[in-house]
């Protein structure tokens, strides 16, 4: 038997298949375009794998059910799009606070509000960062292809388990609906060790010492889970020293494991004059532009694509800014991540946004046209 098999699949299917490969056995959701295929795929597959699929009454309930299932020891995922992502925010914050692993997929569509349900957009980048209230950390991935969707979903599930932290997968409608080749490893190959199986003798549900596994309810370890600030055993407290310590722990986890969370990729000239920074499906157009500009024309151009957008890969962007004079940031919105780029660049290069928000993709030509402003 070969180790991997090439399969033609849709982005949404790759997300569902990636989740299953990573051991997800619980899905709760509510139908919404352009994410519905994920639910349908799960409805088809999970019962046959002994897993649970449930269509809930709304997205609030879906998010709640996923958290409940995760506390029960199942790897759990939910998928939605803008309007549903808005509804999930309160309970997403709960999962962050209570440190319950789960993966939330938002296949972005054009907002605000009902917007254009079938049109691509990257309008939820800031919502994914700040959608739930409070000064919380969050991990957000943004794949550029079906292949990346498959592998980033697996990474999302595993990281979420390891760090006991929700992970958001921000898909673009274009990626969710396109069909591409994916190399699928055999079932189980990519699963991390199930850390929650081993309970350390002096286990505390919220240990300040570092990562601590979630021990599922029903295994004889009695503890409390709440969205209130809590002590190491989960009991509510408003004591100032504990409150700040809890919030610090949530953030520190992500800082400490930054190297495992941050996925970026650079292609192009070693000493670029113009660096492109982008994410999601826009990476595809940028790649096409770099092919032409650098590989054909030998222009000093490079592309830093961000698979992780939150926590923002500031070091990687700054490193690029030390080389380049110009940083071009194409996004399918009115300019969201460009602010972060500017902050990371710290004046070491000129940051130029390129925005499109008419429900169409940014094209390679549009990027070429920009590059020509600075290059021959």
């Amino acid at each position: 038997m070969p180790d991997v098999k090439p399969v033609l699949m849709q982005g949404n299917e790759a997300c569902a298949e990636g989740a299953i490969t990573a051991g997800v056995r619980f899905y709760a959701g509510y139908p919404i375009t352009p994410s519905t295929e994920i639910a349908e795929y799960m409805a088809e597959k999970l019962p046959r794998l002994g897993g649970v699929f449930i269509q809930m009454e709304d997205e609030i309930a879906s998010m709640a059910a996923v958290i409940g299932a995760s506390i029960g020891g199942k790897r759990a995922l939910t998928a939605t799009s803008g309007p549903g992502f808005s509804l999930k925010q309160e309970n997403l914050g709960y999962a962050i606070m209570a440190e319950i692993p789960c993966v939330v997929v938002n296949v972005q569509r054009m907002g605000p509000s009902t917007g254009v349900p079938t049109a691509p957009s990257q309008g939820d980048v800031m919502q994914a960062r700040w959608g739930t209230h409070g000064d919380h950390p969050i991990i957000v991935f943004s794949p550029a292809s079906v292949y990346e969707t498959f592998y980033l979903t697996i990474a999302a599930v595993n990281l979420s388990q390891k760090l006991r932290q929700p992970v958001v997968l921000l898909l673009d409608e274009v990626v969710g609906h396109m069909r591409e080749k994916v190399l699928i490893p055999e079932m189980g190959k990519l699963m991390v060790e199930k850390i929650s199986d081993q309970v350390p003798p002096d286990w505390k549900p919220y240990d300040d010492k570092g990562l601590t596994p979630l021990v599922p309810f029903g295994s004889g370890h009695f503890y409390h889970v709440t969205g209130l600030y809590h002590d190491e055993f989960g009991f509510p407290t408003g004591e100032p020293a504990v409150v700040s310590r809890v919030l610090d722990r949530l953030h520190n986890k992500l800082e400490q494991y930054r190297h495992e969370i941050t996925f970026t990729n650079y292609i192009g000239h070693k000493e670029p004059r113009v660096g492109i920074v982008t994410y999601g499906c826009t990476v595809r157009s940028a790649r096409a532009a770099v092919k032409k500009a650098y590989w054909q024309n030998r222009w000093p151009v490079g592309l830093l694509s961000l698979q992780t957008i939150w926590p923002f890969p500031d070091k990687e962007v700054e490193a690029l800014a030390r080389q380049a004079d110009i940083i071009l940031v194409p996004e399918m919105n009115r300019g969201q991540l460009v602010g972060e780029v500017e902050r990371s660049v710290r004046g070491q290069a000129e940051v130029v946004p390129l925005n499109r928000y008419d429900g169409e993709m940014i094209t390679p030509d549009q990027i070429m046209e920009q590059l020509r402003r600075w290059l021959p």
Binding site: F26, A28, P47, R48, G50, G51, V52, I54, M56, E57, D58, I60, A61, S62, A64, A65, V66, I67, G68, A69, S70, I71, G72, G73, K74, A76, E90, N91, Y94, P216, F217, G218, S219, G220, H221, F222, Y223, H224, V225, T226, G227, L228, F235, P236
Partner: protein, 277 residues
């Protein structure tokens, strides 16, 4: 009346006491009845989970020595649904306030009832939003005063158990904090019932409800509750006029219907057999 036996202290987090509730609050009585009901049901401590929403009543979860899950306002049943489906062997009790269950959580309530999922919902109905200081809830009786209905509410309240029955629940009972022994039995019967069980526990909130509606202190409220209570058996021999203003206690309805979680697991077992054949 026989004295109420000692509470099983293993099931209480005594170190977390004193509780946050006001003097005279009925939440403690209902919580104690729940503990005795769990003892009565004979469950293994490790199989019991308490899920709650947000409100004064929902704070009970923190005082109970099981796996306890204090969720978000109104969403307790949705969390519990996910948990039950992930671990069907768990015996889950869901504590909610009247506002938590019937206002913000109303949608989850009817859908849990519709699925007839094996959860035991214990609604502590004090007719008011206690935690936020006395705003009216969908269970505040018509004409009663609240901070957001200073002239008396104009909204007709839900009949909670009728709502549950209509939505598909298969067990509905009402008890009162003034009769904790009966309440305990009702919760235990609800727990023994397979399917979605709804236990409405009427409970005094002297601070945010009683005072504003001139019902006296906790003692007067409990007394009035007891005087107004009529068991279902007695009520069946009374006419509408005699029943006006009365609180009917006991098992209001019970019926058989397929339970969702069991159905689901049966289905996937069949599927796995099919696939292995």
């Amino acid at each position: 009346m026989a004295p109420i036996e000692q509470l099983n202290l293993d099931f209480l987090r005594t170190k977390k006491l004193p509780h946050i509730w006001c003097p005279g609050c009925g939440n403690g009585i209902v919580t104690a009845a729940l503990v005795r009901a769990i003892v009565r049901a004979g469950y293994d401590q490790r199989d019991v989970v308490i899920v709650s929403g947000i409100g004064c009543s929902s704070r009970a979860a923190g005082y109970l020595n099981f796996n306890t899950l204090h969720t978000t306002h109104g969403r307790a049943l949705a969390f519990a649904t996910g948990l039950k489906m992930a671990r069907p062997q768990l015996k889950i009790f869901v504590i909610m306030g009247d506002g938590d269950c019937s206002a913000i959580g109303g949608n989850h309530f009817i859908h849990a009832a519709r699925r007839n999922i094996d959860l035991n919902a214990v609604i502590i109905n004090n007719y008011i939003y206690g935690m936020t200081g006395g705003q009216h809830s969908p269970l505040t009786p018509l004409g009663k005063k609240a901070t957001t209905a200073p002239l008396g509410t104009l909204e007709r309240p839900f009949e909670l158990l009728e709502l549950a029955r209509g939505a598909g629940a298969t067990f509905g009972a009402r008890g009162i904090a003034a009769q904790p022994r009966q309440l305990e039995q009702l919760i235990a019967r609800g727990a023994a019932h397979k399917g979605f069980s709804v236990i409405e526990a009427l409970s005094p909130c002297p601070v945010a409800y009683g005072r504003r509606n001139k019902q006296g202190g906790a003692v007067e409220m409990l007394k009035a509750m007891k005087e107004n209570a009529v068991s279902v058996e007695r009520a069946s021999n009374m006419d509408a006029q005699a029943l006006a203003g009365k609180i009917i206690t006991g098992v209001i309805f019970t019926r058989e219907a397929p339970e969702f979680c069991e159905l689901y697991y049966q289905l996937i077992e069949q599927e796995s057999k099919k696939n292995s054949n």
